[in-house]
Structure formats: C-alpha cells, structure tokens
C-alpha cells in the first residue's frame, strides 16, 4: 500500500513555494544552504541521486515522463521528493522557488537567467544555484556509450549554461492561452512543448539543461520545473471540472512510490503556490 502523508491536508502544515524573484535575502540564503547540504551528500539522500533519476546514470526514469500523459504528475512527484530531501537536512521551511521565465526581468534583452542562479560568487561565496558537480558515473556513461561512437563533445564536470543559442523563452501571453485549454491532454502537451523551449534556450549546444539525460544536474532545472508545476496548479484551479484520461489515476510514477491520483492535489503533498503570503503571530 502506498504511504499516506501524516499531515494530509492540514492547512497549518502547508509550505509555500515562491517566485525566485521575490525571495528575501534570508529566504535565498536558506535555499542556498539547503542546496549546499544536499550537494555534499553522496548517498541516496543527495543531489547526484536525485538529479540522476531524471536521466543518467541509467536507468533514465524520465523516459516515461516525456511525450506522455505522465509529464506533469511525474515531475510533480519528482519535485516533491527533491524538496523533501532539501528539508530533511533540517530547515523544514525551505521550499523550491519557481523561475517565472515570462516575467519582464526574465524576458529582458531576449532572455535573462535570474540573478539568484546567474551570480557565480554572491557575497564572495560559491553559489550552489549557479552550477553543480555532475555525477562522474553519469558523465562516464554519456562519454562511453555502448551502442554508438563517442558523442561529438563531452559535457563539463560542472554544469554550464549557454542561454539564447536557440529556441526562446515562452511569453506571458502564450502561458495565458495555454491556461485557457480545457482538456488535460491538450494542456499537458502544450505545457510540455514550452517546457522544452526553456530547456533548449538555457542549455544551448553544450549546456546540461539542453540534454535530457543530464538536465537535472543544473540547479536551475528545479526552478524551471517548479514553474511548470505552478502552471499546472493554476490550470487545476481554473478547470476543476476537467477529467483525466481514463486509467491515468492509477498509473504508477516509476520510480516514485506514488500513483498519478496521489499527486493531483498538492494539499496532501504539503505545499502550494503563493503570489503573496504573510504570517502574523499574536
């Protein structure tokens, strides 16, 4: 039987995901601290383990999650697992922020990576959101494929970005149109399409984000997919009557311990999205 969250639906337990552009200095530092912590763990609580689930090292589980109806629920389960891993290090209030690539700041000049992820050494300390070490086993599998000649280039051992070499960032108008779609399958397909634009725009030719097997090693992957999950959440609010394709509720989200039905409602997963939130003690 699948586990049930102990605090299912308790409003007081809900944690809020925020736009990376609206994080306070303190919230951003807590996020960086959590990323630093998880990057130091080399076991199955750590960054390499979670990034590797998406692609390399094999098995690349995400192949069931791209180009299928599982795209949105699979990545929701994935974000949940990684966010919990960040919180397991001690800061239960840390959450994954979203990168709103439609914002004026991100659209500026044909596209801009958010400052929180673009600065190499803020405060003279290495920024764990700027780049991450890539699991050497993943790099080795990429560089020495069993079934074909070596690839035309090797990826660096630390993630890189080459934004703007191709593709484009989706605009607010495009997201607005997508949110008007009634049918889940059409909506999911449209969101997955613009999601690919962002991957290719960020990664360019040799950036890890532009290549499925290595994309999740780039720390901005999580902010990008949190934005995708947020769009799904906005859509769910606007189309509560929409039904999923038959049989999808009971599909397993390999390798996670959930079915699709268990991740449809973000309440039991313990988070939601906030454009603004404030807590007042009395």
């Amino acid at each position: 039987m699948s586990p049930q969250p102990r605090s299912a639906g308790r409003p007081s337990a809900i944690k809020w995901r925020r736009s990376v552009e609206s994080l306070s200095d303190e919230q951003l530092e807590r996020l960086r601290t959590a990323f630093r912590g998880v990057m130091q763990l080399k076991d199955d609580r750590g960054y390499w383990y979670h990034a590797g689930i998406h692609g390399l090292p094999l098995p690349d589980h995400c192949r069931v999650a791209h180009g299928t109806d599982l795209f949105l629920p699979w990545h929701r389960a994935y974000l949940y697992r990684f966010e919990r891993a960040l919180q397991d290090l001690g800061d239960r209030g840390v959450t994954l922020p979203w990168w709103d690539w439609t914002s004026p700041g991100s659209q500026n000049g044909g596209g801009t990576i958010p400052d929180a992820y673009a600065r190499k050494r803020p405060g003279r300390k290495p920024n764990p959101l700027y780049s991450a070490d890539v699991d050497p086993i993943a790099l080795n599998q990429w560089s020495h494929p069993l079934n074909r000649p070596a690839p035309p280039f090797e990826y660096k051992a630390q993630t890189e970005r080459f934004p703007g070499q191709a593709s484009r960032l989706p605009t607010a108008d495009q997201v607005r149109l997508i949110l008007q779609i009634d049918d889940f399958r059409e909506f999911s397909t449209a969101v997955e399409e613009i999601h690919g634009w962002v991957h290719v725009w960020v990664g360019g030719q040799r950036g890890h984000m532009g290549n499925v097997p290595l994309a999740a090693f780039d720390p901005i992957f999580w902010a990008h997919h949190t934005m995708i999950d947020r769009i799904w959440r906005l859509w769910q609010r606007r189309h509560p009557q929409s039904v999923l394709p038959a049989g999808l509720h009971t599909e397993a989200l390999r390798p996670f311990e959930f079915t699709v039905g268990q991740v449809l409602d973000v309440g039991p997963l313990g988070y939601d999205y906030a454009s603004a939130t404030t807590k007042v003690g009395v």
Binding site: P145, A166, N211
Partner: protein
C-alpha cells in the same frame, strides 16, 4: 534529415468562419540532440535564414528536448516489442517517437483558404556557439493539416 519539404498537396476546402488549425507531426524522433523545427507553409525556399514572420509563410515552431543518443547496448532504446501484449504490465521501456503540433493562426488559415495546394517545409536547427545552425536530427513519419470547425 536537415530539412523537410513536402510535395504540393491538394488543399481541402476550408469552412467559412474557420479560424484555427494545426499541423501535426507524427512519429517525431527524440533520441538525438535537442533541436527546434521551424515550420513554414507554402514557402518552398524556406531556410535557416528565412525570417520567422507570417509574410514568409512561417507557421510556428516545435522543439524536441532530445536525449542525445542512446548510451545503452544494442536495442536499449528501441521502442518496445512486447512478446505477449496481453500480459505486458510494464510501462514503456524504450524511447518511442512522439507527436508534435504547431497551432495555425487565423491569418494562416485565411491564407490557406485561398490556396489550391499546401506545401509544408520544416527547417531543423540546433543551438551552437554561432547561433542556430542546421540540424540532421529531424526525423518523423508523417504530418497532417487540420483546420478546425468554426
């Protein structure tokens, strides 16, 4: 392939008032590098230099977030061939191709309404240090043009 150009196909009649449509590409390979497909209608000379504007016949783009090639042994990424599909409970093990769609604007539908034939051109581009460059990664089985009911 680097570039796809269809034959001139007969254009079906477009209903009065129709203002939306799609070009759907079936069986698009995603096992190679990431690329974007720029789709042009009735623009036989479309190339990497062609502006992505309506007067040039630009209809839209689709992007393939690619896997960069299979790293496993022979057959690792081949689409499944279930020996006994009645008892196949696993999710797909291989990397089957996907479908992609480009939405057509009202102006493109209007343009097609007055055309006897339709030609589809896809120019595939990969990112590079010098900007988008022509890609060999484009592979698909078929395409369909659909104009929706008004």
């Amino acid at each position: 392939m680097r570039r796809y150009e269809s034959k001139a196909e007969p254009m079906p009649a477009v209903a009065a008032g129709a203002d939306a449509g799609q070009i759907i590409f079936y069986g698009v390979d995603r096992s190679g590098p990431s690329f974007e497909g720029r789709v042009f209608v009735n623009a036989n000379r479309a190339s990497v230099e062609t502006p992505c504007t309506a007067p040039e016949g630009f209809a839209g783009i689709f992007t393939v977030f690619g896997h960069g090639g299979c790293v496993g042994g022979p057959g690792h990424c081949d689409p499944d061939i279930a020996p006994d599909p009645d008892f196949e409970l696993r999710q797909p093990q291989g990397l089957p191709p996907i479908n992609k769609a480009v939405d057509l604007s009202k102006s493109m539908v209007d343009r097609l309404r007055t055309s006897d034939t339709v030609t589809i051109t896809v120019v595939a581009l990969e990112p590079s240090d010098d900007g988008p460059t022509i890609s060999e990664a484009l592979e698909f089985d078929s395409w369909r043009l659909t104009i929706y009911e008004p």
